[in-house]
């Protein structure tokens, strides 16, 4: 098993919380893992990315070579497109559809969606809307993570365990909410396939 994953978004959107859950699930599955994060200046509203490499064999590089990424998970549609050179031809883009506009020349949303829809393997969803329906937009990250489950190569039950472990400190209600969000995202991706 070998999965190279790239997470993208805008500084402050919380891509690292997604990485943390995948990392926890990978560790539970006995896999090797390397996760490169971005700290410092770019966290201030700039583009941010984190790479996550999982494998049943030891991993050399912290970074993913061009054209080798199996899955891009993006909190923001334009940010998902920024890293396309890393995606392999069979790889998937799973992205939130809602733009985060903090620059003057942000592209038209319709143009962005058209660009994303040109990809052979993509899932685009409104994670905030799904999360709001479940009770809180704060679970939006877990909706997005749920939508990657068909492509992650990690067992759904292990992912559920990882979510429970990570949110346990915040109480049963928050755990339930995030598990529901995970399930909702998974269902959307599966209907999309």
């Amino acid at each position: 098993m070998k999965k190279d994953i790239l997470l993208s978004g805008v500084g402050g959107q919380g891509i690292l919380s997604i990485a943390t859950v995948i990392g926890e699930a990978a560790l539970k599955s006995g896999l090797y893992m390397k996760q490169a994060e971005v700290h410092g200046m770019s966290q201030r509203g700039g583009d941010v990315q984190s790479t996550l490499r999982l494998s049943d064999a030891p991993i050399s590089s912290d970074l993913i070579p061009l054209g080798c990424c199996d899955l891009i998970i993006s909190m923001e549609p334009m940010e998902g497109l920024r890293y396309l050179p890393y995606l392999n031809p069979e790889g998937w883009l799973v992205t939130n559809d809602t733009p985060f506009v903090n620059i003057p020349r942000y592209p038209e949303q319709s143009a962005l969606e058209a660009e994303i829809n040109r990809l052979p393997h993509r899932v685009m969803l409104n994670i905030e809307a799904v999360a709001r329906e479940l009770g809180s937009v704060r679970a939006a990250n877990m909706v997005l993570l749920g939508a990657t489950i068909p492509f992650l190569g990690l067992a759904y039950d292990t992912m559920r365990e990882a979510v429970s472990d990570i949110f346990r400190r915040k109480g049963d209600e928050i755990v339930e909410l995030n598990l529901k969000a995970l399930a909702a995202g998974k269902e959307i991706a599966e209907t999309n396939l």
């Binding site: 560790l27 006995g30 390397k34 912290d62 970074l63 993913i64 070579p65 920024r82």
Partner: protein
């Protein structure tokens, strides 16, 4: 995989130092080194008496750590690469004094300048000071090296420099800590009462001793488990790979590398092993993160003899600048990955910016408005911190950003030259780091300039660490001798814009030294505090 824990490179270093019987960490925050100290702060209990409070700057940190080592205990100093410039006076001389308790200095370099103003390579400092260095290729190695470095430091009687780079510092991987946590050393002073007295006559003796130790350091490198020669059948090429450069080489040979590879993680560089790879291979590719430190030495200035075999950053085989990647190393090895997709042309740059609601925004709004409309000859000398982002849209507010504290002293020099108005913009933490001494120069000459200490009561850019002067900036300025009537404090909020304009005009018009302190807590710190309360 029992006991395996997920650690950032920084966290692995911190855990290893704790396991090695650390008594104190001394540091000033700086990306990518900050998380080392933060980890120690959050993983120690007061009764353990392990010092971990932030220092005012890297020099005070290095000196305090040397003092702890003098008193027999194990100390750790952490900084980003440019912090080494600040700590250099003490660092270089600590090689002459030597140590008593084990002392490890971590320099976190930032090739590609993700969060820095240059990509200087700290290995030059280690070499310059004649100190042993280690450079890990993985989080596990970072852990193991730090554990070993404390023993080695005490055995050699010298500090050890651990050199890491951004990618290792901020990458997470499974680490298995070694069993058996050491207890801290007891207080003990050096047997030789004059060991640390670097008067010329004594320093010469200590320096001779340091030179003498070089042979032993080299022998340790030859035998080091971190310097490994792996043979390969194809001798047309050999590879010398340092630190994480090794990972990018191996990423390109998942099925096994056909060429001999010398992996180096401990310096001085192992001479015998290098001779072997140069003797056996037709050419030698040098893969090192950062500047071509080793490549230059191996090539020789004139590139004669074996130097002609060297390939790397200096002959364009690898990019001359920037962080290595699996792709740049792949290209150097003739094994390139081709991307299937390109970046669509509609994707725009998204540079970092000041947060919405940030006090620096209000400060810059008024500063740029007043200067542009009323004082077009004014120039603004900036400094290092979040407010450096005032250089970009929509403010384009600053004309310089060089090093910690330079806003004050550069504005002074420009004012001395006759530039008016000369304005300095500096943050509270940068002011206490390296601005206070410059302010004293300005006071002594009552320089005609205006200093704005934009105070958000934290070290914001690195994630909100305590700022050394919080609550005391006015008294510091008064104590140094700034005239009290020219120390002006204001809350940078929209409703106070008129007051801010008036203060600014008054102090620009005053032909002497003024300090304006716009003060409002960082919005990120505020948010974190609120979240904690919930």
């Amino acid at each position: 995989m029992d006991n395996k824990q997920l650690f950032l490179g920084d966290e692995a270093i911190a855990q290893a130092a704790l396991d090695a019987g650390l008594s104190g960490v001394y540091a000033y925050p700086g990306t990518p080194s900050t998380e080392i100290t933060e980890y120690i702060q959050s993983h120690t209990r007061p009764e353990e008496k392990i010092h971990s409070r932030w220092c005012t700057n890297e020099k005070t940190a290095m000196e305090a750590a040397l003092g702890m080592s003098y008193a027999g205990k194990r100390a750790l100093v952490c900084m980003k690469h440019v912090g080494m410039n600040v700590a250099a006076d003490c660092f270089v001389n600590s090689a002459i004094t030597g140590v008593n308790g084990g002392l490890v200095v971590v320099a976190a370099d930032d090739p590609s300048m993700h969060s820095s103003q240059d990509e200087q390579d700290s290995r030059f400092y280690g070499d310059f000071a004649l100190l042993p260095m280690m450079e890990p290729s993985s989080q596990q190695e970072a852990y193991d090296m730090v554990r070993h470095a404390y023993d080695f430091s005490e055995q050699m009687g010298e500090p050890v420099l651990l050199r890491i780079t951004t990618r290792l510092a901020h990458s997470r991987s499974g680490v298995t800590p070694q069993a058996g946590r050491r207890s801290q050393n007891e207080v003990s002073v050096p047997a030789d009462e004059r060991q640390f007295v670097l008067l010329p006559a004594l320093a010469r003796k200590r320096y001779a001793l340091l030179i003498e130790k070089q042979a032993e350091l080299l022998r340790a490198s030859e035998e080091s488990p971190y310097n490994i020669y792996t043979d390969g059948p194809d001798k047309r090429k050999g590879i010398v790979a340092f630190g994480i450069g090794y990972n990018y080489v191996m990423e390109n040979f998942l099925e096994g590398c056909p060429y001999p590879v010398l992996k180096i993680g401990q310096y001085p560089m192992p001479e015998e092993k290098l001779k072997k790879i140069f003797a056996e291979c037709e050419e030698v590719l040098v893969v090192e993160e950062g500047q071509p430190f080793a490549e230059r030495l191996l090539r020789g200035y004139l590139g004669s003899g074996d130097g002609q075999k060297v390939r790397g950053r200096l002959d364009g085989t690898l990019p001359r600048t920037g962080e290595l990647t699996p792709d740049s190393v792949g290209r150097a090895l003739g094994r390139e990955h081709k991307p299937a997709y390109s970046v669509p042309s509609l994707v725009e740059m998204r540079p970092p910016a000041l947060c919405d609601g940030c006090g620096h925004r209000d400060m810059y709004t008024i500063l740029t408005e007043v200067l542009r409309n009323e004082y077009p000859a004014a120039r603004v000398f900036g400094d290092i911190g979040c407010y450096t982002l005032g250089a970009g849209a929509p403010f384009y507010a600053i004309n310089s950003c060089v090093d910690m504290g330079a806003s004050i002293t550069m504005a002074k020099g420009a004012a001395d030259a006759g530039l008016y108005p000369a304005v300095s913009v500096i943050g509270d933490s940068t002011f206490t780091h390296s601005g206070i001494t410059g302010l004293l120069d300005c006071v002594n000459e009552n320089t005609d300039m205006t200093i704005i200490i934009s105070d958000n009561e934290t070290t914001a850019m690195t994630g909100g660490q305590d700022s050394a002067g919080t609550g005391r900036l006015e008294s510091i300025c008064r104590g140094i001798g700034v005239a009290p009537e020219h120390i002006r404090v204001v809350v940078p909020l929209k409703k106070n814009y008129e007051e801010m304009r008036t203060i600014l005009r008054e102090e620009l018009d005053y032909h002497g030294l003024s300090v304006i302190i716009p003060r409002r807590e960082c919005v990120q710190t505020l948010k974190r505090k609120k979240n904690k309360k919930q």
